[in-house]
Symmetry: C2
Subunit: 215 residues, 2 copies
């Protein structure tokens, strides 16, 4: 079963966690770019590895669970902070700041060299990673938690690294299925389109027949 943890964190404690650990992930994102671009001498690279290993050990001296999971406070504040797209504590995530508006979600973000596929362009799979999250959040806008059932990407032209926008919305709802659509665009227009079907998981259906218990 896929669930989440409800804890006693207050809004102040949640902001303190973000302020304490968010900057670690942020500087690690900058280091990811440096790792790809650097041309320093071998002895400098070896020194960097030694220093990074020391910080790794420092942080690993006290750790929580094997993965972050999805924690909710009793006030209902969600912290998907380990999430590979939106996780503020996850250096793999850009992270996207996704704005919710009724049945539509949108985001502005910048993708650096660590998201490269073809030279100077965003990896096609990174575009799908981002759109899976965007469509999933759009599908969840009616308080229906959804697992991705199918996702189809249509690549209209290469997506350049740099500043981009993405948006997604609900196309229609049929029983336990929510159909969502979305796209990623640069300044010239749409680069990648996506359509997905998100399924309300069994644990979130009140009667096991498709009526979500969160409405």
């Amino acid at each position: 079963m896929i669930g989440f943890l409800v804890d006693d964190a207050t809004p102040e404690e949640i902001e303190a966690e973000r302020a304490t650990y968010g900057p670690i992930a942020q500087v690690l994102r900058e280091l990811a770019q440096a790792s790809i671009r650097t041309t320093v001498a071998p002895e400098v690279a070896a020194e960097a590895v030694a220093q990074l290993a020391a910080v790794r050990d420092l942080l690993n001296a006290e750790v929580g669970g094997a993965s972050y999971g999805l924690k909710f406070s009793r006030q209902g504040i969600g912290r998907p902070w380990g999430n590979a797209v939106v996780g503020v504590r996850n250096p793999v995530a850009p992270p996207l700041d996704i704005v919710h508006e009724e049945d539509r979600v949108h985001s502005r973000f910048v993708l650096g060299p660590q998201y490269e596929g073809p030279p100077t362009f965003v990896h096609g799979g990174v575009a799908s990673l981002i759109l899976d999250q965007m469509l999933g959040e759009a599908a969840a806008a009616r308080k229906r938690p959804g697992m991705t059932g199918t996702l189809t990407l249509r690549y209209l032209r290469p997506t350049p690294l740099g500043p981009l926008t993405a948006e997604a919305s609900i196309d229609r709802v049929e029983g336990i299925k929510t159909f969502a659509i979305g796209h990623i665009a640069d300044a010239e227009g749409v680069c990648v389109e996506a359509a997905g079907v998100f399924i309300v998981p069994k644990w979130a259906r009140a009667d096991g027949k498709g009526q979500p218990r969160f409405e």
Copy 2:
């Protein structure tokens, strides 16, 4: 146009580059996990940020291009080392070591907490990121470079974090289109299936009508 850089690197120089810079990305992957899991005190976290920023500046003292791109030696040795899935110099990449066999490619890999979506499970978009790369490499097996045209993912059940396998192969070829299929599996069986259409880009067609010049 999407192209790649041919340089004069010898096999020895290429191995030296891997040995020099690969370990930086590897320790950054371990740091990504620590960033998500750590519970150290705020003053320890602040010290970690300061030390990481110093290493970032050390590496950024000498850098190459804005992104890694795809370099080829004159001996034809490819270095997609900035690639978001297989890049040995990219901490965002697991990285996958993809084995090529005729028209089939396969890989064994382990996904840690930085690839999480639903609690304890792989982000659906990370599965699509990996399958885009796998199917693209399968499609390219006949020396036909391909850009993703469409990619469809079917999620059969949640993919657990941990040890996984993936494979992909060519289903059929029609003119400039190569149809590839693949999946990700855990010890219990297939979790995600994918089907994709890869298009030979215009620059790789000898006559602009679909005959790739690389055959």
